[in-house]
Symmetry: C2
Subunit: 304 residues, 2 copies
């Protein structure tokens, strides 16, 4: 069974929500991805950069997920840091501070052992870097890219080029509308698919996610949670659960894409139950299975 | 098979969207409800009020849905009128004009033949009137109430009393949050259920709807449409499809609530394909069945 290469950020998050706070907790897209993929039994080959101040306990946590850390470069200087505060309505947050630090010098170099990876996730980084990673992998079975508004407006041409080179695109709904310049998501999805990818996954936050491919369409709701403690990392956990499941299944049939999307939603629902990657550190295979069954239960209806 | 009593508005809508406009078209919650219930084969016993200027073709349309119009009072004066304009993003609209006219004098009186109805829908009107209707029906099998922000702030006590007397509450998510004073929908739903109703249906617009009852939870997405022409009446059509299906099924098991919710979503997806009730006038049972099958297709996933 294949490992998954994930190229993204690893850093220190300081997060405040109405339910508490965490200081210099492990954060970054690649950290959430690795923890989420591990929750469904898949190991990550991690490509990222940290500073000399990266706490040993965070490194141990990543190693304990089974992640290969050969691609986690340590550069002179301080770690990438992000600080944010969520509102009472947790769909809204303010960024209080962003310090790129060593991330400003990130030039992803894949160790030789990573280059034949079958599954590759390009988390939300500069599309120029995403393209450089794609140039380093040999015949992957599936490549998937995440992006955000910052690159849509600031690096549109590179993003468009990257979209043309991956198999799966993941964006949230505002980003699809913004990139495709239409309020209609279906039209936006079709436009992005016309640029090359076979599949687009549109994240809708608390509404779940929807997946379009040429041969089908699948809608997966989010798990209804009474207590969301910290929404940070939900999207990257979703990606980790999705790609982690697909790598396990090893077959790209639509039925597996459906199951994979539900696994993404299941894993993300655990992530937001606690700060940072804490909940992912403790979640068990049985808990994943149980919540997957609940998803079936609350979306199922009979023929008439 | 039972008819369904619907108490709501019938009026003339003038609607502008980026895709066209309609002038003095048939509108109002009870009109959409009756057309939607008819689309799934159920007749409505309609309780509403119109002015002397109510166009005969609109009356004929309602009669053609099979609706009983004995409860459609004609008062001296002009019909209720509403005018609105939708933005490019059709989730946003401006109300340009509201003329209550005869609606200001609406005092729902149920004809004798309606009083033993098994299914009763109280569309979004003053909760004081909703309570008066409930006092006129004998042992209904299922009562359902819709409401809106206007009554939550302006008639909260009466609304709370009405909530305590019905079986099913339908609100949109902002209304649930507002009424229950929490950003968390699940908490809001639990709070409203604690006031009496066995079931709450939370409408999420383009995201579909979710149903909570003591013995289950069900999520139904909205049908992904590339061309929404006019979103007016989607919620009332949803109610008509839901209750119309339940009245056909005649059994309130959770499995039927699930199927009913999907029927609501199916019928609403047709409504928004054209202005006013035009699309509901032409939709066929086969089209309903076909779209129901598509809903199954795009929400289905296997066990693992």
């Amino acid at each position: 069974m294949s490992a998954v290469v994930c190229v993204g950020t690893v850093g220190l998050d300081t997060v405040e929500t109405p339910f508490g706070r965490a200081d210099d907790a492990l954060g970054g897209s690649a950290a959430y991805f690795a923890a989420a993929a591990a929750a469904v039994g898949t190991k990550t080959q991690l490509v990222s950069v940290v500073g000399e101040d990266f706490p040993p306990e965070h490194r141990r946590f990543l190693a304990n997920t089974g992640a290969d850390l050969e691609g986690l470069e340590v550069l002179p200087g301080r770690c990438f840091r992000w600080a944010g505060r969520y509102h009472f309505d947790m769909n809204r947050r303010d960024t209080l501070d962003t310090q790129l630090n060593v991330l400003a010098e990130f030039q992803p170099k894949l160790p030789a052992a990573y280059r034949r990876a079958e599954y590759v996730f390009l988390a939300n980084v500069d599309p120029v870097l995403q393209l450089k990673v794609l140039a380093q992998v040999e015949r992957p079975k599936l490549t998937m890219l995440d992006s955000m508004n910052f690159w849509i407006t600031g690096a549109r041409d590179a993003l468009t080029e990257a979209l043309g080179e991956v198999d799966v695109v993941m964006m949230n709904e505002e980003e699809v509308r913004q990139y495709a310049d239409t309020p209609n998501l279906l039209k936006g999805a079709r436009h992005i698919l016309s640029l090359g990818p076979q599949t687009i996954i549109i994240k809708k936050g608390e509404y779940g996610a929807v997946l379009f491919r040429g041969d089908g369409f699948f809608y997966c709701p989010a798990y209804p949670l009474e207590d969301v403690k910290d929404p940070t990392g939900a999207g990257d956990s979703f990606a980790g659960g999705f790609l982690g499941y697909l790598a396990q299944a090893g077959d790209l049939a639509m039925a597996n894409f459906r199951r994979a999307l539900v696994h993404g939603s299941v894993v993300a629902s655990f992530t937001v139950e606690d700060f940072s990657v804490r909940r992912l550190a403790s979640v068990t295979p049985d808990e994943i299975k149980q919540r997957y069954r609940e998803f079936r239960e609350f979306t199922y209806f009979d023929e008439v």
